[in-house]
């Protein structure tokens, strides 16, 4: 009997090796199955680095590949991070409590994990768990509040009976926690998963990176975009200046790929960049949805941009 101890791996998937030349839908699905809670992107970064010849890691934890040489010198970045939680406490009865990781979280983010499976990323690997919810039957005839669930009321059940059993699984206070990832294809060409837009955009970038560049193009998979854009600014400050900077995102919009110029600041530094937004539906939810046809359009535009077009 095969035990499903690991609900899924933070990055190193047990199936066929990842390849940047996989079909886009497969690659997007593989990336969507990865977890990279903000501040804990290292294992996803390892996986991406293995997929790209010449990839390097910088001091922030970004994965960067340099294509070509000379000018112009351009940067294109795709964020790896996602909202999540960390273990806030371990109770004597084996339950874990949570602290939301810093950065912005979408509305109803906590509620959408209530009564669902999660993964605790312990020192010994992935530990499957669930977030407790009141039993429907036991609320009958009793007064209940209809306020949204928050992580302050979360009790995470790994199946342990004691604090010692929890620790034996490699879990400690601060271990990251994410929703269990089960990318879901539906409709003609839709992919649903947490941060599916971001993951599909990164998949499109991976595939487009085989394009021969005009001048120098740095491709960066960056950390902590949701926490002051630490990864992006580190790449710019360490490797710039750049003639153009493009940041990929998933977001709602009418067009398959929306573009707009933006100015962002951090720690007194100012950066002008172009935001390329892959169209998503149900953004910020466990079923954030991207149409893979839109992702293919993004890949075409990225390949053209890397090759010299705009």
């Amino acid at each position: 009997m095969q035990r499903r101890i690991a609900a899924g791996l933070l990055c190193t998937l047990a199936a066929a090796p990842l390849s940047a030349q996989q079909p886009l839908g497969d690659l997007a699905g593989r990336l969507a199955a990865m977890s990279a809670p903000v501040g804990f992107e290292a294992m996803m970064a390892d996986s991406l680095a293995r997929m790209m010849r010449g990839a390097m890691r910088d001091r922030a934890g970004n994965v960067i590949v340099r294509l070509g040489s000379g000018s112009p010198k351009r940067l294109i970045a795709c964020p790896m991070d996602e909202p999540g939680w960390a273990v806030g406490g371990i109770r004597s009865d084996g339950y874990l409590t949570l602290r939301r990781l810093p950065g912005r979280t979408p509305p109803m983010f906590d509620q959408q994990v209530e009564g669902q499976r999660v993964t605790v990323w312990g020192a010994r690997g992935a530990v499957p768990a669930v977030v407790a919810v009141r039993s429907t039957h036991l609320t009958r005839g009793r007064t209940t509040e209809d306020t949204p669930f928050t992580s302050d009321n979360a009790f995470v059940d790994v199946g342990a009976r004691t604090e010692e059993e929890v620790r034996s699984l490699g879990i400690r206070v601060t271990s990251p926690v994410t929703a269990a990832k089960r990318p879901h294809r539906y409709g003609r060409s839709r992919l649903a998963a947490p941060v599916a837009g971001r993951r599909a955009a990164c998949a499109a970038l991976l595939r487009a990176s085989s394009q021969g560049p005009r001048g120098t193009v740095l491709i960066a998979f960056v950390v902590e975009q949701g926490l002051g854009m630490r990864g992006l600014f580190t790449a710019v400050n360490a490797l710039g200046p750049f003639d153009d900077v493009v940041m990929l995102e998933g977001d709602t919009g009418a067009e398959p790929v929306g573009m707009r110029r933006d100015t962002v600041t951090a720690g007194g530094a100012r950066l002008v960049l172009d935001r390329w937004r892959l169209r998503t539906r149900f953004g910020g939810t466990p079923v954030e949805t991207v149409d893979l046809g839109d992702a293919e359009e993004l890949e075409r535009r990225l390949a053209a941009w890397i090759g010299g077009g705009r």
Binding site: A132, R161, R185
Partner: protein, 361 residues
């Protein structure tokens, strides 16, 4: 019947060596995993029924009645003792297909709709499963409520015609994808443990049953449409009428074994054994029969707890014929959620208890 009695334990030790125990857990897990990963929303239990049929021992002759219940008979003579576990699970029924292709839904059974909002979905057409999603609420501004105003499934289409082209019709059912997952120690999580654990206990008991010890007929019944009102059990009860000696619903004991629950009743911890579900919303087990059951469990050193909880059970459908209902169960955390949690040791105890009742009582 609220807050009548806190659960307590009768007998505590699990017999057998650790190695034998591991082998038994492996067997139980093999059965349970297959049942949990079969889909059977109320009224569309066919895949689960067929899975049970395939898991039965070779000697068992299974029959399906007009309601869809599955019957296996063992022994002969006397009034039959009936064990009944239900095949169905909670879910939704498609009540309409909107112009934009989305599915209007009604609940099958009782549960918090918020647990399905913004999650993956599966539409069961009877021929295929069509993947979809449960739409998140569109409006997240204003005072937030836990409960969404409606649950809508989106199969990824834009028009009613596109949805119908996928084979989806009003009356089909919708659930969420599910997976059996082992947790730490002997614990596991999944959706629809209620009542796949009961169904697994009957299968495991049948595999070990010593038919030579039966001095009366014993009926093992897997019922349909429990979650929507004990409908399958009612058909079976009517067909047996006054003949039935005793009925044992084999179903969930909804446990208060969680920091979120009030500790007034339902305190059967998971991992502490099977449970006599002596009082619930549908039945009160006769005290003398509870005592007899406790004695049977003690004689075989089967860990058994006694408790009162909420919910109804299939055995109560036999009440119009004066049949005593002594429901037996295993403790469950987070009932009717996508993340129900059990302890596999309780499944073993429950299977042993079913066998002991059949052979000794």
């Amino acid at each position: 019947m609220r807050a009548v009695a806190a659960a307590f334990m009768i007998g505590v030790s699990f017999p057998g060596t650790l190695r034998a125990q591991d082998a038994r857990i492996g067997d139980a897990e093999t059965v349970l995993e297959q049942l949990v990963e079969s889909y059977g929303p109320s009224g569309m239990e066919g895949p689960v029924r067929e899975r049970v049929r395939r898991l039965l021992p070779g000697w068992a002759r299974a029959e399906t009645d007009t309601a869809g219940n599955l019957w296996v008979r063992a022994g002969s003579g006397g009034e039959p003792v009936v064990f009944v576990a239900h095949l169905d699970e909670i879910g939704f029924r498609v009540t309409g297909i909107a112009a934009d292709g989305s599915l209007e839904l009604a609940r099958l059974g009782g549960f918090f709709p918020s647990l399905f909002e913004a999650q993956p979905a599966l539409v069961h057409t009877g021929r295929v499963m069509v993947p979809a999603v449960f739409r998140p609420r569109a409006d997240t501004a204003g005072p937030a409520r836990r409960t969404p105003s409606a649950i809508v499934a989106d199969p990824g289409t834009s028009t009613r015609a596109e949805t119908e082209a996928l084979g989806i019709r009003v009356g089909h059912t919708v659930t969420m994808p599910k997976e059996y997952v082992r947790l730490s120690g002997t614990r596991a999580t999944g959706r629809s443990f209620d009542d796949r654990v009961g169904s697994a206990a009957l299968v495991l008991a049948l595999r070990q049953l010593d038919r030579g010890r039966l001095d009366h007929e014993v009926i093992f019944l897997w019922s349909v449409r429990e979650e929507t009102g004990l409908e399958g059990a009612a058909v079976a009860a009517r067909s047996l009428g006054l003949r039935t000696r005793r009925v044992h619903a084999v179903d969930t004991f909804v446990s208060a074994d969680s920091p979120l629950e009030l500790p007034a009743f339902g305190l059967a911890p998971i991992g502490a054994g099977a449970v006599v579900r002596a009082i619930d919303n549908s039945a009160v087990a006769p005290a003398a029969l509870v005592d007899s059951l406790v004695a049977i469990a003690e004689a075989r050193r089967i860990p058994l707890q006694l408790g009162a909880t909420n919910g109804g059970n299939d055995g109560s459908a036999f009440a119009p014929w004066g049949v005593p209902d002594v429901a037996i169960a295993w403790p469950l955390r987070y009932s009717h959620s996508p993340a129900e949690v059990i302890d596999l040791m309780d499944l073993l105890a429950l299977a042993d208890l079913v066998r002991a009742i059949a052979e000794d009582w």
